[in-house]
């Protein structure tokens, strides 16, 4: 299912957070959204998830313009927010059941779906565990399982690997790529970590609210005549690409 963003602008009072941003997500691919802190990534996510109202521009889902609260858009979106949104007092399965209920899935449907999702994410034996007892990497995996529970066609991840060690980051990145390949899931992966992006990934570079590039990683390097994506990022933003902290 295609998601297009057309001429979106957004202001917080006098400050412009997004300025005439347009792009289309490549279907069945991991689309990387690269930008430093304050680039407008979270604002863009808040608009795509309809937590913010559009001030100007439009979002199109499969060519249909989405105006106002849209049930269809929310049914098609799975979201992992930057800040963890799991309920720490509940178990893994209880968190999934709550999310499922909000999407109209019965407990039985959730359990059927959750079993295989957790298994794939390496959490098959942890469904009864309290979220508090899980480490950061496992919590993120639960959030991904939860985002996929209602079988969305588009997955939005807002800096989902922040604060995780290298192994956990790589595992999550690998798993999301598998989902793209096997289930034709369209992913928008916001990050400021260059190493998470593969050369043929579609890349959007956002800086100071403006879209600076909409191409693939390798093409961007060619366009900027630099050997690495980090160097291209530096040229576009004037900032050094952050190195991952593990």
């Amino acid at each position: 299912m295609g998601l297009d963003v057309h001429h979106i602008s957004f202001r917080y009072g006098a400050r412009t957070a997004l300025d005439d941003v347009s792009f289309s997500l490549a279907e069945g691919r991991l689309n990387a959204l690269l930008g430093p802190n304050g680039a407008g990534k979270s604002t863009l996510y808040a608009l795509l998830t309809q937590l913010f109202r559009l001030q100007s521009g439009e979002i199109r889902l499969d060519g249909h313009s989405i105006r106002g609260p849209s049930r269809v858009l929310k049914q098609q979106l799975g979201v992992v927010f930057q800040q963890s949104t799991l309920d720490l007092d509940l178990s893994v399965m209880q968190n999934l059941e709550y999310h499922g209920a909000l999407h109209g899935l019965s407990r039985r449907q959730v359990r059927q779906e959750a079993g295989s999702l957790l298994e794939r994410l390496g959490l098959g034996d942890r469904h009864r565990d309290s979220i508090r007892s899980l480490n950061g990497g496992h919590r993120r995996r639960v959030e991904i399982a939860r985002a996929l529970l209602h079988r969305p066609s588009i997955l939005l991840l807002d800096e989902a690997t922040v604060g995780l060690d290298t192994a956990a980051r790589q595992a999550i990145n690998r798993h999301v790529r598998e989902l793209c390949r096997e289930q034709s899931l369209t992913v928008l992966w916001a990050t400021h970590l260059i190493e998470e992006i593969a050369p043929d990934d579609p890349v959007l570079v956002l800086h100071q609210g403006r879209l600076q590039a909409d191409t693939t990683a390798e093409r961007l390097c060619r366009q900027q005549q630099v050997p690495t994506l980090g160097a291209a990022f530096e040229q576009l933003t004037g900032l050094r690409a952050p190195t991952p902290c593990s």
Partner: protein
């Protein structure tokens, strides 16, 4: 979206609130300790100073403890209603509100489900408190335990709606102290929960009028009459009307942008 999806969401929200409540057992006990202290300690000291004459719905002279029982039931509902506003602000700050708002169901339905969940959990605490009242010889008629149920439910919805309405106006958890000082205490003390209004009128005419316009006074009277299987129509209309107005205000005033980082504050 099918009707079934709405009911599944309601069940899911009720279950989640119940599970969270069970996890936080201290909240349950502290909710009971507060009114119990009033019933056992405060009332013991006050009963000598405050005579309660025969006023409807009572048919005879009653003890002060009997008089304040409905007020203390409403106190539990009041604190729970306001606690719900705290929990909404907490959910907003912790991010879990986003999970709710990502549901394809209408936000008004989701918030209504939350309100119903808050009300039902409050009822469980009120009945536990009434049960403890029997242990200290405060015994309302048994039929009253049944007839008071709709009155308690309506009061819980009214106070939950006020809590929900306030939660949209509380920017941070730290501001909750303001709710205590400016909402809970004035609502409770400027009502007929602890003393009949005629007693208040003896001391101050204007205070009497303030109390008369306090919706919490009417909620207490609704519960008081219902506990004796009687209907106070004025109290029912005021409590029902206030519940409707604040539910509408809470639903209309809810701003999802606050949950998404609140940079616009």
């Amino acid at each position: 979206m099918q009707l079934n999806a709405y009911l599944i969401a309601l069940k899911g929200i009720l279950t989640r609130e119940f599970l969270r409540f069970v996890q936080q057992r201290t909240r349950f006990f502290s909710a009971l300790v507060r009114p119990l202290l009033w019933l056992v300690v405060f009332a013991a000291g006050f009963r000598a100073a405050l005579g309660v004459s025969i006023i409807p719905p009572y048919q005879t002279y009653i003890t002060y403890e009997t008089y304040i029982l409905p007020g203390l039931c409403c106190m539990i509902l009041l604190f729970n209603g306001m606690q719900s506003s705290l929990s909404m602000v907490y959910d907003r700050e912790m991010g879990s509100m986003k999970v709710l708002l990502m549901s394809p169901l209408p936000r008004s339905w989701l918030l209504l489900c939350k309100l119903i969940a808050i009300a039902l959990l409050s009822l469980a605490q009120v009945y536990a408190f009434i049960g403890l009242g029997f242990l200290v010889d405060v015994e309302p008629p048994l039929i009253g335990l049944l007839t008071v149920l709709p009155a308690l439910l309506l009061t819980a919805v009214m106070l939950g709606a006020i809590g929900l309405f306030l939660s949209a106006r509380i920017r941070q958890l730290e501001n909750f102290a303001g709710v205590m000082n400016f909402v809970i205490f004035p609502m409770f003390f400027l009502s007929s929960a602890l003393y009949p209004l005629w007693k208040m009128r003896e001391s101050s005419e204007w205070l009497y009028w303030v109390c008369s316009f306090n919706p919490f006074t009417h909620a207490v009277e609704l519960v008081r009459f219902a506990l004796y299987a009687e209907l106070n129509l004025t109290a029912l209309l005021v409590t029902g009307g206030t519940a409707l107005v604040f539910t509408a205000l809470a639903l209309l005033g809810f701003n999802p942008e606050q949950t998404a980082g609140g940079k616009r504050r």
